[in-house]
Symmetry: C2
Subunit: 383 residues, 2 copies
Amino acid sequence: MKSICGVEGVRAYGIKEGKFGLALIRASGTAAGVFTSNLVRAPPIVLMEKRIQSGYLDAVIVNSGCANAYTGKQGGSDAVRMGEIGGRAFGVDPENVGVASTGVIGRYLDLPRIEDQCNRIAPLIEQSSRAEILAAQAIMTTDLTEKHALVQGNGFSVGGITKGSGMIAPNMGTMLAFLYTDADIPASYLSSALRQSANRTFNRIVVDGDMSTNDIALCTATGLSGTADHDEFAQALEDCCRSLAIQIAMDGEGATKLLEVTITGAPSEEEAASVARTIVASPLVKTALYGEDPNWGRVIAAAGRAGVRFDPDAVDLRISDGSVSHPLVSDGKIVVDLATAKQAMHGKKVIFLLDLHAGPGSATAWGCDLTEKYVEINGRYTT
Amino acid sequence: MKSICGVEGVRAYGIKEGKFGLALIRASGTAAGVFTSNLVRAPPIVLMEKRIQSGYLDAVIVNSGCANAYTGKQGGSDAVRMGEIGGRAFGVDPENVGVASTGVIGRYLDLPRIEDQCNRIAPLIEQSSRAEILAAQAIMTTDLTEKHALVQGNGFSVGGITKGSGMIAPNMGTMLAFLYTDADIPASYLSSALRQSANRTFNRIVVDGDMSTNDIALCTATGLSGTADHDEFAQALEDCCRSLAIQIAMDGEGATKLLEVTITGAPSEEEAASVARTIVASPLVKTALYGEDPNWGRVIAAAGRAGVRFDPDAVDLRISDGSVSHPLVSDGKIVVDLATAKQAMHGKKVIFLLDLHAGPGSATAWGCDLTEKYVEINGRYTT
């Protein structure tokens, strides 16, 4: 087991037919959610933001291929109907069913297809590696790989699956992420821990700067392993979310390399995150990464437009491949050895470390390179 | 004459040798400037922001190939030296010489080369079509075409040249733009008119969302055609800047199509501009444009993350090729005919018209498509 089925009390299954997938996850417990901050929110988001206030879920039903976004009133009743289809299949109250959608915006759900897929796979749900893989695959759109994470805490587990590859941007709830723990966690604490974890992980990845209308992360705590230390749980949840977030960045549409940017010495954590996000989102940094071009000036230029005050002539900038780090700028002076810097960009992971010398705040953000493949994938998506 | 040499009192010349170009423009008069708002500002920007406070210029010297950015104290004295080289060539006070640079960040100026190029071309400056074309070409970097504009006012002219293709983003002073008028305009009014014109034109184009460290627009009024009505002059200046701004968007790195987005019904002009800029900057809108994929949902999704309040279920969205416009969303309802929408994307210019029905504010922004060529151009820039 490598994700949700490693958590006590969680069963799942999934099916993918062409562009159209459906995942079912059955797990009862306290529950919390975070959602996109886009003003244009898909009907399932509007529904779940209300429904999650009960702090309890029995199951989740998710479709891929159609986002049920910008579908107005009909989209709203379709989302409710989708929850009813899931509730009936499991014999649970539809009010306790989580609903999520991902895919093309501005199209209506094909409910007969969803009902047919649901009826076929509901009897098959189980707690197995195969089941969690099928569920993770069922929610993929342009993703190339399914995404799993499982963190073992002190007497409890936290596991999750997620999807996301394009339309990935900061300041959202998140993409689709479904997290489970067997720790016994009250709904109110679960909600604040999920919010903080999402803020430090999912909200710090950028693939293209486009914020989705359908971002959602749901976490359910089955409680089957008993109570857990709250701080330990919060840390495990954040570790689990970080693993999933980095998997999304690595699987960014068309990506060949992971970009990690750590800012230290910012006035605050929030401001450090803002600078880190601006750098990982920069098309010029992303294309330089792809071309293994040590054009570090683009990193400094991006930092300068993040809206955070610092003295550009007092910073330290280093580059690393994850093992050794090399100075590019030291105390505001250019000390780069271009050949060494280029060498540090050869691998699958490139890290920039920027110390602003302007305070105690630090933060890390993740992104990926911008390649011809991203253009190809997104130039012909609808048709 | 199609730009600066169509203005009384302006002579110019330019030279381009490989990546390294130099342009000289000789024109005395009241002068104003606007500059990048990036925190990391190149030394010539720092110099000019101070120097332009005199409200007077005799000449401008501009090099391409090296941005003289992030070069600290040496960069500062190099920028002063560059002004002295220009001043000596023309026999004018170096304090009245405008200095600008564009190219790679984090490299020092090659002053001997600049002095050599300056001494060779200073004797050649003239008021001719050939001269203004050579000057415009000399300041190009990844630009494919030189950019000119000339607006005839009532008894006066406003002309300008500009460069810019990548690292083009909103909220800057601008890229490099050199504007001239023979109207007699006081420096204080020239400054406010330039600020407003830049805000409505250069600040509304986005190629990649990366803000340059070297953006600058300088405007000099020779006064040789006598006084002009201030409102008429402000309008002519804005028309001239708009023409240049659209030329930059059309020549965006790797671009094949111009994107124009007009927002009406926003709470204010500023908020309309914010929505328009967010849409033209969206990588997903830009790739859909390239692929002629009528994925209008991405336009609505981008509008939703612009930070402006409106009711997504009450908007009108239309698409146009510049001649006929077709409805995509009407009063929040999807009315799109995908085949017709795709047809409207075949040309070199695609226009989206979005009415938010939330107030009296309107604004237009310009951008371009995102293509494999952008990735290719920027993946191997330094080396």
